[in-house]
Assembly symmetry: C2
Homo-oligomer: 380 residues x 2
DNA sequence: CTACTTTGGCAACAGTGTTGCCGAAGTGCA
DNA sequence: TGCACTTCGGCAACACTGTTGCCAAAGTAG
């Protein structure tokens, strides 16, 4: 690592803390303690970030016996990013601010079978629609797509039923068309990023509802910014139940993809040894069991099956949060949240069992979140 | 991150590359390319490391049309570390060099039931036995222990059958007694570290067999050091089959422990929905199925069960290598390697299915490896 | 023997975070 | 009201990073 990289690293560290702190902001001294840097270094860094418009002063905190600290806060509208969910029949694009809040969105039908070139045009149009107007600069575009793909190279894999997509270098082509950094990832990973981003966004009010916040608010040392607080970033899993089952894994502060971007194959976890055959060739996969239950209308049983598989993940990976999404879940959210929660509670080895919830933010939001990530020092 | 940390980071980067390169060594230019630093910076760093005795010149490579590059290599005996496997009835300690090769070992019985204080004495004696003589300084001691424990705090958890251990701050007590950094981790994680370290050690010959190596060897640009080569570090999983089943996960270049050091709970993955009840309260866990097969002498079936559960892990985490260890496996290694391999081959979604092998190095070696890790920039 | 390529050190440099110092802006007490 | 005390945060000098420009050393190729 060289000096410019060091500078970027520390800038990102400070930005991440300020993002976690929400509109209330944080004092310089507190930033120094949390980053491990000296107060002087923090002053230099914050001056730089302030000159770039990324952060601003946000009043002063209550005094603790001396000069009250000047609070600094992230300026969410200093930069934006765009996230695109490229699904088999729909394309949804959102523009988000630095706090991860949606400031514009657009969606419409798309014909995946028309091939990648047509989809590129649709993505370019969608990005122009949400991001084309005057506004803060875009830091990047995240694209979430179904099926296997190579995140590193940005190349699509074999999407079932759409052979023309295999090998298409979507990231490269879009970067050429948009002139922006583009990030391609699986939709389940974007779901996980959205889920992980949700507890960051939680410290920020809805976009546009910030009038007169945080003037002289009393900010204790523990307020906001769980990111670097004891225990480190949380572990969360996004489970998608739709035409297939997939998982996005948020481990150790970032999306876990595995070496070949193939991680998260949740649907073909065997849950019933020597059970009914699955289209993948194995027997008793979660997918075949769950979709069979859905097909016969037994949603509680489907939820129980997903729950058992989720409990396996929780035990294996020490997961804090399980988020559920996808069309099947959306059709009966309470049944799935309750059903999965019941299994997790029953099988918890630890009394502090993980939180189960419906995925609040969508895949497009997660893609935008991933495009934002480099600014805050996360790899993705 | 501040300047001393930056320096340490870059030192570790260079050391890691040189470790991966083996006795043949690497040229400065190559180090510059791989680290992304300028040749001048590499010269400064290598001069520093040379002055500390950590690296040394190792002859010159063949010329590629100009002045031949001076090769640099790690000096394995510049530092050592000690790894201790603290099991229920045995204590094994090894002293390893910087290449991870065992240079001394010691083992003997221990009575876990005698309580933690007695075990501390036994560990101190064992460390003195392998590490007490004159020799290079020890960088730290890694201790691998069974059962749940808090890696971060270094505190033991509830070991089944030995209540007196719960809450014992083994790391702190040992650091006080030994005056060295001590690292406490689960034995399965140490197994994973040993497995991951094995392909690093593979570039080094056996300890003591280095006479006259690497003089003028022709080192191509791709030789050694897969660590930072395309694709990044491998993912590997260590599966332990003994009185219980456990997994150690090596993901993304380090041991994955989860937020509460609880990751790797492999034994209680449900593999047969509504199967026979397990002592954990669930039904159809891998452990109850596998141990039942072992109890009735059907080792191929036990191997198949472990294989199915391993295939779940491989699909979920995009695993490259599966290493098997533990007493049950050791009793019939071929049966397990073949049985697990067969299931993985059958269920592989990707033609490049993972390698299955018997864990070559033991848990103590892995503990020593983890104690070495900070020197090479890995968190653990 | 000469031209060329490549390695790698020396010296000056730009840019980090750090240290020592001090003014600014509050609180708390006499 | 006045004064001591605490805390925040900027200024200047500093130590230490990696970087740039330059050049000697040591090979190959003709």
């Amino acid at each position: 690592m060289n000096l410019p990289a060091l500078r970027g690293h520390n800038d990102a560290l400070v930005l991440e803390l300020l993002r976690g702190a929400g509109p209330a902001g944080l004092g310089r001294t507190e930033l120094a303690v949390r980053t491990g840097l000296t107060p002087q270094a923090v002053s230099k860094i914050t001056a730089r970030l302030g000159a770039d418009g990324l952060i601003a002063e946000a009043g002063r905190a209550a005094s603790t016996g001396g000069k009250p600290r000047t609070l600094l806060r992230l300026v969410p509208d200093a930069r934006h990013s765009v996230g695109v969910q490229l699904d088999r029949d729909e394309l949804r694009a959102v523009r988000v601010d630095l706090a991860g809040r949606v400031v514009a969105e657009s969606s419409g039908p798309i014909d995946f079978a028309a091939g990648p070139e047509a989809a590129v045009e649709a993505v370019v149009r969608a990005v122009a629609r949400v991001g084309g107007q005057a506004g803060p600069p875009l830091v990047g575009v995240g694209v979430a797509a179904p099926g296997p793909l190579d995140h590193r190279a940005g190349v699509m894999g074999r999407v079932t039923g759409f052979p023309s997509w295999k090998g298409f270098p979507l990231k490269g082509v879009l970067e050429g068309r948009l002139g922006l950094p583009v990030l391609l990832d699986k939709d389940t990973n974007a779901g996980a990023a959205a889920a992980a981003g949700a507890w960051l966004r939680a410290t920020w009010p809805e976009a546009g509802a910030e009038a007169g916040v945080a003037r002289g608010a009393d900010v204790g040392p523990g307020a906001g910014g769980d990111v670097l607080a004891g225990g480190g970033p949380r572990t969360c899993v996004y489970l998608h139940v739709g035409t297939g089952l997939g998982a996005g894994l948020w481990l150790g502060g970032g999306v876990y993809r595995g070496v070949r971007s193939a991680a998260g194959e949740f649907g073909h976890q065997v849950l019933l040894l020597d059970g009914p055959p699955c289209r993948c060739g194995a027997r008793g996969c979660v997918e075949v069991l769950c979709l069979a239950a859905v097909a016969r209308g037994d949603l509680p049983e489907a939820a129980r099956i997903v729950g058992e598989a989720a409990a396996n993940l929780v035990a294996l990976l020490d997961v804090d949060r399980v988020l559920l999404g996808g069309r099947v879940v959306a059709a009966a959210p309470d049944v799935f949240v309750a059903g999965v929660g019941a299994v997790l509670a029953a099988r918890a080895l630890d009394p502090a069992r993980p939180v189960v919830a419906l995925a609040g933010a969508g895949v497009a939001e997660g893609a935008a979140e991933m495009a934002l990530a480099p600014l805050f020092g996360r790899v993705g």
